[in-house]
Symmetry: C2
C-alpha cells in the first residue's frame, strides 16, 4: 500500500495508490496493489517487486504493517496477506499501470471508491500504523521531498495525526531537536519565501538515542 502527499500547507492531502483489477476476482474494482511472493524471495522484496510491476514505482521506502489470514477474505481460496506500506515523496510519483493492473491512480484517502476484498480494513490498519510510527521513526521525511519547509512538515504531521498543531511550538521543537538543517534554498510562491530544510539522518539517530520519541 503506497502513500504519498500532495498539495501544500493546509491543503495538503494524504493519498493512497489504487490499481484497477484487470482480471477476476473483483475485475474492474479498485484495489490495493499486491500479489504473491515468489519462491526464495524475501517479503519486503516481493512487496517492492509487485509495486514496481503494477505501477512503475521503484526505490521506495517500505515498512511492514502485519499479516492477516482470515478465512474467506479471498474468493480464490485461503490466502495470507502480509501488508506493507510504502511511502513516496511528494515530488515524484510517476505512475504506469501494468501486470495485474489495468490502471493505477492516486486517491485522496478520504474520497475512495469501493474497494475489492477486505482492503478497506487493511487501509485502516495501515493508517493507524502510520500514525503510531510518525512519532517513532522518520516516516515523515520519506513522504516529503528532499528539501521542504517547516510549514510543509507541520502540515504533513497534521494530516497523518488528524489534528492541528501549534505553529510556534512545532517550529521550536523541530528546530531544537536538530535533525532538520536549513539549506540555502527557499521555497517561492505568491507570498514571503520560506526557508528550506533537509532531514539529517545521523543527527536523527543521535536524537532518538536519548529522547526516545519525536516531538510530534
Amino acid at each position: 500500500m503506497v502513500f504519498t502527499v500532495e498539495g501544500t500547507l493546509d491543503a495538503m492531502r494524504l493519498k493512497v495508490l489504487l490499481v484497477e483489477r484487470a482480471g477476476p476476482p473483483y475485475q474492474g474494482s479498485w484495489a490495493l496493489p499486491g500479489g504473491f511472493v515468489h519462491e526464495h524471495e524475501d517479503l519486503g522484496q516481493a512487496a517492492a517487486r509487485e509495486l514496481h510491476e503494477e505501477t512503475g514505482l521503484a526505490d521506495v521506502y517500505i515498512e511492514q504493517v502485519g499479516a492477516i489470514g482470515t478465512p474467506g477474505r479471498d474468493p480464490r481460496g485461503h490466502t495470507v496477506t502480509v501488508v506493507y506500506v510504502a511511502l513516496v515523496p511528494a515530488d515524484r510519483h510517476p505512475l504506469q499501470a501494468s501486470g495485474d493492473a489495468a490502471a493505477a491512480r492516486w486517491f485522496e484517502i478520504d474520497r475512495l471508491p469501493p474497494l475489492a476484498f477486505d482492503h478497506v480494513r487493511l487501509l485502516d490498519d495501515a493508517r493507524a500504523h502510520l500514525r503510531r510510527r510518525l512519532g517513532e521513526t522518520p516516516v515523515a521525511f520519506e513522504l516529503l521531498p528532499g528539501a521542504f519547509t517547516l510549514s510543509e512538515l507541520q502540515s504533513l504531521c497534521e494530516v497523518i495525526l488528524g489534528r492541528p498543531l501549534d505553529r510556534r511550538n512545532f517550529r521550536r521543537q523541530v528546530q531544537d531537536a536538530g535533525f532538520v538543517v536549513p539549506t540555502k534554498g527557499r521555497r517561492e510562491g505568491r507570498h514571503r519565501p520560506a526557508q528550506l530544510f533537509r532531514f539529517a539522518p545521523k543527527a536523527f539517530e543521535r536524537y532518538m538515542q536519548d529522547a526516545g520519541e519525536l516531538p510530534f
Copy 2:
C-alpha cells in the same frame, strides 16, 4: 512465542517457553513453539492451536508481532513465519509437551540455550514489540494473576522495560489512572501485607480514550 513471569518483586524474571524439537530439522534443539497454518484457519487461531498442541496451554492472550520470510531461514524450504506472542499469567502455567515437541520448558529470557532456525532474532523482535506495547495496551495485566500488588506490577514493568522505576511516582500514577482497583485481599509474606488490586478493563478504556498512553 509465550511469555510469562515468575518470582516476586526484584527477583521477578521474564520467562519464555521453548520446546525441544522431536524431529528434524534441528532435532533435539530448543525452539519456539509453532507450526503450520491449516487450510481455512485464521492466523491467530492457528497460533493458539499449535500452542495448545505442543504445550497444553489454552485460552491465553495472543498478539501478532509480524511476519518474516527471509529465504534460507528454514532448511525445509522457503517458509513465511507469522510471529505471535502469547502472555500467560504468572500463577498458572502447567506444561505438557506433545505433538512436534519432545519437551516444553520455561527458560529465563537471559539464560537461553542455543535456539533452532532464526529464533533468536524472532525473540528479539518480540521483546521489542512487548516493550513498545507495554505503554499502549494492557499487556502487563495479561501477565499478572487476577489479583496483584502494586509492587508486583511495578516489578513486571521494570523487567519488560529493562530500567528501574521510582516507587512512589509509579504508585501515584497508576492509582490516579484509576484502572487498578483495590480488592479485599492482601498478599501475606514475611513482612507487612500488601494491598491486592485487580485490573478494571472498562476504566482502562476510558483512561486510554483521553490519555492516549499508559503512565509507564
